[in-house]
């Protein structure tokens, strides 16, 4: 039953009349340029006048699910938000629970966490680059970025035993120590990646074809970026020097030497360069972390409170007395299975590949959390689509979308 006003309320659906000369295009949810989301675009001719990011297609009720699981089992759960950035995504949960437990992980664990976080950050940025490349029809960058990401995925595998869902940070430490020859692999990977970044610049970022697509497209001025509350590389590309690693150093970030790159332009090209510079910084952090780890003796990778409950065989393996598949390499501690966290509320945040990720954890003293609230970087960035895209042409949609490195599963949870 159509009304003259044009607004008809159907169950779960709103139908409204478009203005004259507007054309509505649904990009997604099953569209080669959309990812797991839908973008409702109203175009006038070829120019977008209204862009409405319609999210929620990969919502998995993670916050609710976490209330029914043991504290420990929530780590693999939260990883599913962004499996390509698994350590960064679960770290604030672990930190928040550690605050409730009142344990401080040993120095070595902090460095190990920092190391994996940076490996994840590089892999995650490369993933974003690959998607960005294919959005612009640049298949070479897509293949290069995904090929080179493999190196960092394998580094993570050498460190943790898993390619993507590492579940590495645990309450009071990490799941296992690093292998003996890990430093060698890290240094090889960083040297290779530095060389590759120059080649990326040659084929993609300085390619006149790509530059003309990105320069001045999707500009977000500094003030606007702050107003919208953008996070991560996107806000830094708009000239705001904000990074959790700097604002509130966690783990070993206050002891490693790194810079926060900032770009003033705020356009798609700046966001792409921002990621290149961040990869460079991450490589440097990885090297520093691995240097520290090699110089310092293996003095426990987990808090004494948990380590003392470990069976003797674990301690023998870690001491190198018992040859095991990988010297010094111990797996999970059994105590965690029946962990009860004292009642209380805590909050922690880290800088993930896509921006600040925040956890609020509330415990009522049981073996499952009372409430976990997650706010991820992608959630804070998605709003930018609505304001950065109008005024540009439909063909700019992938150029802007890709530059934000938006990852639907991370926001939808």
């Amino acid at each position: 039953m159509a009304e003259a006003s044009g607004a008809v309320a159907l169950p779960g659906m709103e139908v409204r009349q478009l203005e004259r000369n507007l054309y509505e295009v649904y990009i997604g949810p099953a569209h080669p340029g959309s990812g797991h989301m839908r973008i409702i675009v109203r175009v006038e001719g070829d120019v977008m006048v209204e862009v409405d990011p319609d999210i929620g297609f990969v919502h998995r009720t993670m916050e609710k699910l976490s209330e029914g699981r043991d504290w420990m089992k929530n780590i693999p759960l939260f990883e599913r938000m962004a499996i390509l950035d698994a350590c960064n995504v679960t770290l604030p949960y672990v930190e928040a629970v550690e605050k409730l437990l009142d344990v401080d992980p040993p120095e070595r664990a902090k460095y190990l966490r920092t190391l994996l976080c940076e490996i994840n950050r590089v892999a995650s940025h490369l993933y974003g680059f690959g998607i960005f490349g294919v959005f612009l029809g640049h298949s070479t960058l897509y293949m290069w970025a995904f090929g080179d990401r493999e190196i960092f995925v394998e580094l993570a595998e050498k460190l943790t035993g898993a390619r993507l869902t590492h579940s590495y940070p645990m309450f009071g430490g990490v799941r296992r120590d690093m292998p003996d020859d890990f430093g060698k692999h890290v240094r090889k990977a960083t040297a290779y990646m530095r060389r590759r970044l120059d080649e990326y610049a040659k084929i993609f970022l300085n390619n006149p074809n790509i530059r003309s697509r990105l320069e001045g497209v999707g500009v977000i001025p500094k003030g606007r970026a702050v107003e919208m509350g953008l996070a991560g590389p996107n806000v830094r590309a708009s000239g705001v020097k904000y990074d959790v690693r700097l604002a509130e150093p966690y783990e070993a970030y206050d002891r490693v030497d790194f810079e926060i790159p900032v770009y003033e332009e705020g356009d798609s090209l700046a966001r792409a360069w921002q990621r290149v510079d961040e990869i460079r910084q991450s490589l440097s952090i990885m090297e520093q972390a691995v240097d520290w780890l090699e110089k310092h003796p293996r003095e426990g990778f987990i808090h004494e409170k948990f380590w003392k409950t470990a069976p003797p065989i674990y301690k023998q393996v870690y001491a190198g007395a018992v040859p095991y598949a990988g010297k010094y390499r111990v797996k999970m501690i059994p105590l965690y299975a029946s962990l009860r966290v004292p009642a209380g509320r805590s909050f922690a945040r880290v800088e993930s590949g896509r921006g600040e990720i925040t956890y609020y954890v509330e415990s009522d003293g049981k073996d499952t959390p009372y409430r976990v609230r997650v706010v991820s970087g992608s959630f804070r960035n998605v709003i930018a689509f609505k304001y950065a895209m109008p005024g540009h042409r439909l063909a700019d949609l992938p150029a802007i979308y890709g530059s934000f490195d938006y990852f639907p599963p991370e926001w939808d949870r």
Binding site: L136, G137, S139, T140, W144, N209, R213, R393
Partner: protein, 360 residues
């Protein structure tokens, strides 16, 4: 005396007048449908292998490692042929089916207006105005892409169709002007004369590089090759005008684009790269027709291979940027090329080089 009608005569006449009759032969076999299919398979294979080389991977490989995975393309072709053709209920069915077929046939038409030898026995049509006819025939097929888009009744198709129409209006003038600058330069539309004039080794592509460059880029634009893969930009509008097509019909759509590229490459090989130039066609079918046609095909194949390789280097331009390139850079370039052609005619460049293209 009545000639005996024997099986031999029937067979001979069948071959002579139906298969090897130049208009049919050129349309169906070389450089027409069958050659275009072989070329398409080779070029797609080359495109995938070359791009894979740049991108640090193998490309097609596992299906037959010894041939570099070449049979993968045959397998793909078979799959396309036997895939179910899904016709959405909302399309205008008659036009939906007719348009791709018409596009393929019309894309092949220009091949019937070109000579592949200087031997008049193997010309499909009289060659006096062949360049003009061939260039004119290349402009027929794009309209059917727009028809496809309209008949599909899909938003992405429609946007793709609109983009195609913009691109067509932009590139056509460039292609025509740059191809015809050779006619200005040599005062003839006769492709045979044009090729003969280049037999000294001084190809027109060397004599007038702007024309060659403009024609090359115009061809890239019309056949939506990178960096101008705009009407069917996957990440923006799915498959553009071909979104609603599946199976063999989609194969036809893609085939029409490849055939168009092939036709332009053959034309460019004749006009700019001296056609069968180092070779002087002899008599008889093999020496007089087959060999020169293979030389022309080989040159055209090189042009196509270069076009395919650009996929590994470029992303795609936005439609307004591509149109800007066409109207602001290419058309002045083509005009300049035409001017160069006129200047060459005025100073009798070819006559000075000892080539008499046109008597009188």
């Amino acid at each position: 005396m009545v000639e005996m009608v024997t099986a031999y005569v029937i067979w001979h006449d069948f071959l002579r007048y139906l298969i090897f009759y130049p208009p049919v032969y050129q349309f169906i076999i070389i450089p027409g449908l069958i050659a275009a299919l072989v070329v398409a398979i080779f070029i797609i294979w080359f495109e995938r292998k070359a791009a894979a080389r740049v991108q640090m991977r193998y490309g097609p490989y596992e299906i037959s490692p010894r041939t570099g995975g070449a049979t993968q393309l045959i397998a793909d072709l078979i799959r396309y042929s036997f895939q179910e053709i899904i016709v959405p209920r909302t399309v205008d069915a008659a036009i939906y089916f007719a348009a791709p077929v018409a596009a393929v046939i019309l894309s092949l038409m220009p091949l019937n207006a070109i000579p592949l030898t200087s031997n008049p026995a193997f010309w499909p049509i009289p060659m006096d105005y062949s360049l003009l006819v061939a260039v004119a025939l290349t402009t027929l097929s794009p309209i059917f892409v727009i028809v496809m888009a309209w008949a599909s009744n899909n938003k992405f198709s429609l946007i793709g169709g609109v983009r195609e129409s913009f691109i067509v209006t932009a590139y056509e003038l460039v292609a025509v002007l740059s191809m015809l600058s050779v006619a200005a330069s040599m005062s003839t539309f006769n492709l045979v004369d044009i090729v003969e004039a280049q037999s000294g080794g001084l190809w027109y592509g060397l004599l007038n590089p702007p024309a060659f460059l403009a024609a090359f880029i115009a061809t890239l634009m019309t056949t939506s090759g990178f960096p101008f893969e705009i009407p069917d930009a996957e990440s923006e509008i799915v498959a553009g005008p071909y979104t609603e097509y599946s199976g063999l019909m989609y194969g036809l759509d893609m085939g029409a684009a490849y055939i168009k590229r092939w036709v332009f490459s053959v034309l460019m090989a004749l006009v700019f790269l001296g056609g069968w130039a180092p070779y002087v066609p002899g008599t008889g079918f093999v020496l007089g027709y087959l060999v020169p046609s293979l030389i022309v095909s080989a040159k055209a194949l090189v042009i196509m291979a270069v076009m395919s390789f650009l996929r590994a280097v470029y992303g795609r331009y936005r439609i307004d940027q591509a149109l800007g390139v066409a109207w602001e850079i290419l058309i002045p370039l083509a005009m300049a090329a035409f001017g160069v052609g006129l200047a060459e005619a005025y100073f009798h460049v070819y006559a000075h080089l000892g080539v008499m293209a046109v008597a009188g």
